[in-house]
Amino acid sequence: MPEWEPETDKLLHVLPIAGCVFRKTYFDPAKGRNVSLMIDPRLVVINYHAKGLEIVPRISEEIRYYPLEIEEMVRAGTFLAPPSGKYQVDISGDRTQGPLSSQGSQNVDDQDAPIEFIEQHRWWDLDGDGYPEPLVVTFHKSTGFVARIVARFDADGVHVNLRTGEITKIDPWHAYTKYDFIPNPDGGIYGLGFGQLLRPINEAVNSSLNMLIDAGHLQNAGGGFIAKGLSMNAGAVRFTLGEYKAVNVTGSVLRDSIVPFPAPGPSPVLFQLLGLMIEAGKEISP
């Protein structure tokens, strides 16, 4: 597994920020070996109040496959081809929504653009015996066309009542491992990281800093009101270095006719508050 070390490195860097990172460990038939990949927690959807990954009835992951990968999987028999022959990039949905939108928008004109699928590790009663089986179901996100269904259990994981012959229990295998930084205090399944803990302070710091910079900018830039009685060229009055402009009024009238915009400059209280919030942020993240 050559990607194990870089993926672990990435995971350990993302974990303190995101607070929760998933690892997907499975056999990749295309590579012919096991892989263990870091999965962005925003792409894995689980019931928020689930007790744990082992007992949650459904885990959904948004996956993007390139058309070439899909073609290879269709030819290898691991993916079903849709009735139209080719999977299409979604052009109807609003791609500004959803976690994958932050990873770059899809260009519908690009024939090589990746196509979104949903892979669900779930329970589903396919054989209609009243007991759902653990399966991995992959479907095209925009059309809902099911591309692949595989079993998520081994033969030795099936428990049968020897008297009645009924299946009593199936032990599924699990592909996802959840790495938590700090457990969620509200009982949610996603852990907390410095990203969540520092976010309100960071937003307040950003807001204060913007206000301070804006106040300083306004103070430096100047500007104000000129009375109509002052006969000067209309529009902004610009000076070159060392220039004196001739006006047809006296100094006192000129002084009375020009009123600068009141710009008190950056507030010292706001600056102190900024320092306080930065210190509070440092206390949270040692």
Partner: protein
């Protein structure tokens, strides 16, 4: 304590045990985090063990 953990020497001629105590105290939070990461790594390795067994 934060400064000690980041390698900042604030005092001179201080016994090593005096410095070690706040370091150990400061690392408590991290120890709990390492424990969780270690537990998750164990679960991941168990999955790999199962895959290699199949």
């Amino acid at each position: 304590m934060k400064d000690v953990l980041t390698g900042d020497q604030q005092q001179h001629n201080v016994p090593a045990t005096t410095t070690l105590a706040p370091i150990e105290q400061g690392l408590k939070t991290f120890t709990a985090i390492y424990k969780r990461v270690h537990l998750a790594l164990k679960q991941e390795l168990q999955k790999l063990y199962r895959l290699n067994r199949v």
